[in-house]
């Protein structure tokens, strides 16, 4: 199931950017960052297996790079760093449906900010706060919606299949 969700998100990311305005001034309000949302959503699949989770994120980020960005390992690194933050969120806070929205927004913000930070320190493209906020606020709606749907699907499937790991994990959280 994990692989199906990952492949689906990766492919949807590519298809949507071809048919939604994605460049410069007129970003759509539904800018997809579906693979980035996965960083947070898929953690329950790796409960108590943090090392595998981080390795998986690095591989996912690298594949994302090879498919879409041509920045070899760059997203691999960012995904892994965001993985560490996700781990601490899961350790520290309770995951409820309402809070999930905020966590997804938080991960999107962190992703965009860290991307912008690296571009800024290597002085590749002029970046302004205004542009960064523009990029973030246009990436929220679709991704939060997608994240919520995926969360419910994962929840349902794992319940149906009585995936003990996830089931125990969630009951502990509650």
């Amino acid at each position: 199931m994990l692989y199906i969700i990952s492949i689906l998100s990766l492919l949807l990311d590519g298809i949507l950017t071809n048919y939604l305005p994605y460049l410069v001034n007129d970003l759509t309000l539904f800018t997809p960052l579906l693979t980035v949302v996965l960083i947070f959503i898929i953690y329950p699949f790796f409960y108590k297996n943090n090392k595998n989770y981080l390795i998986y994120l690095f591989i996912l980020g690298t594949i994302y790079d090879l498919f879409y960005t041509n920045l070899l390992f760059f997203n691999g690194i960012i995904f892994t760093l965001l993985g560490f933050i996700t781990l601490s969120i899961y350790k520290t806070f309770e995951i409820t449906k309402l809070r999930l929205i905020f966590y997804i927004i938080f991960i999107i913000c962190l992703y965009e900010c860290s991307f912008a930070f690296f571009i800024k320190i290597f002085n590749l493209v002029p970046i302004s706060l205004e542009k960064l906020i523009y990029k973030i606020d246009h990436s929220i709606i679709l991704n939060v919606f997608y994240g919520m749907i995926m969360y419910f699907i994962i929840e349902k499937i794992t319940k149906n299949k009585k995936n003990s790991k996830l089931y125990n994990f969630k009951s502990k959280l509650r």
């Binding site: 071809n18 970003l27 090879l66 879409y68 070899l72 760059f74 690194i77 571009i119």
Partner: protein, 266 residues
């Protein structure tokens, strides 16, 4: 006990600093814009391009505008006009220009994905080294210049659009005015007016709204005479030393599906 704790702490600090340095080095490598595509990347890209082509096939084959766009584009690339061709030959001899439009072959390609790194303004096309494409080749659409190739793998290439704010990406342009051609640099994109900016234009030369902007051929990157757009607004720079022109292009940069690469005849 205290020494052990201190040792552990310094170990941790060293590890964290090393990881941070490694991350910086890796990021620098991946973000290096003129980096060549590695063998590993090339191999994987072949597979990923094949997958993307398969997925995009239903969408691209349904696009009825494909043939129309390509044929329009072909006319622009070749710029064949018998009366002008003679004039071009003469001008070429006079100016000793060895790069004009007619010396280029046109290779049509389909856009596979808009690069997801918004900041770089790039797109990926389905033609690469195997089709004879190389780095720095000019890319046009039926509406004129759109960018240049920045990375090439066997079956795909990355194109940097002229709307990019990249600090190392400048295009030399000529503005056709009644008093003769005027040379300047195209750099950047104005989000508010949806125009590309040309800076460093001599204040003493008269430029009017509606004047045509073409590539100048200077610098050797782009062939001379590719249409970019028309002047839509003229403004003084902040020191009042030169003018900034805002160029309205016909191309909708958010909606590019087919492009043409100009390949120099060998």
């Amino acid at each position: 006990m205290y020494r052990d704790r201190k040792k552990n702490r310094s170990k941790k600090i060293i590890i964290i600093v090393s990881i941070f340095i490694l991350i910086l080095i890796a990021s620098f490598y991946s973000l290096k814009l003129d980096r060549n595509v590695s063998v590993f990347e090339n191999g994987f890209k072949n597979v990923s391009i094949f997958i993307q082509k398969c997925i995009m096939y239903p969408f691209t084959s349904l696009n009825g505008e494909k043939d129309k766009t390509l044929s329009d584009s072909y006319l622009i690339q070749k710029n064949i006009n018998s009366s002008l061709e003679k004039e071009i030959r003469e001008l070429k001899d006079i100016l000793n220009l060895n790069k004009t439009f007619t010396e280029y072959n046109a290779i049509n390609a389909t856009v596979l994905s808009r690069n997801k790194s918004y900041w770089f303004n790039t797109i990926t096309i389905d033609k690469g080294k195997k089709s004879g494409l190389e780095k720095d080749m000019a890319v046009v659409s039926s509406y004129g210049l759109i960018g240049k190739i920045t990375k090439v793998s066997n079956n795909s290439s990355e194109i940097k659009l002229i709307t990019s704010d990249d600090l190392n990406y400048k295009v030399s342009v000529s503005i056709t005015t009644p008093s003769g051609d005027l040379y300047a640099i195209l750099n950047g994109y104005d989000k508010k007016t949806n125009t590309v900016k040309v800076s460093g234009v001599d204040k003493n030369r008269e430029v009017k709204e509606g004047d045509i902007v073409l590539t100048s051929g200077l610098g050797g990157l782009f062939p001379r005479g590719i249409y970019i757009g028309t002047v839509s607004k003229i403004e003084s720079d902040k020191y009042n030393l030169s003018n900034i022109l805002y160029i309205k292009t016909k191309q909708d940069f958010s909606n590019i599906h087919y492009v043409t690469v100009l390949k120099e005849n060998s």
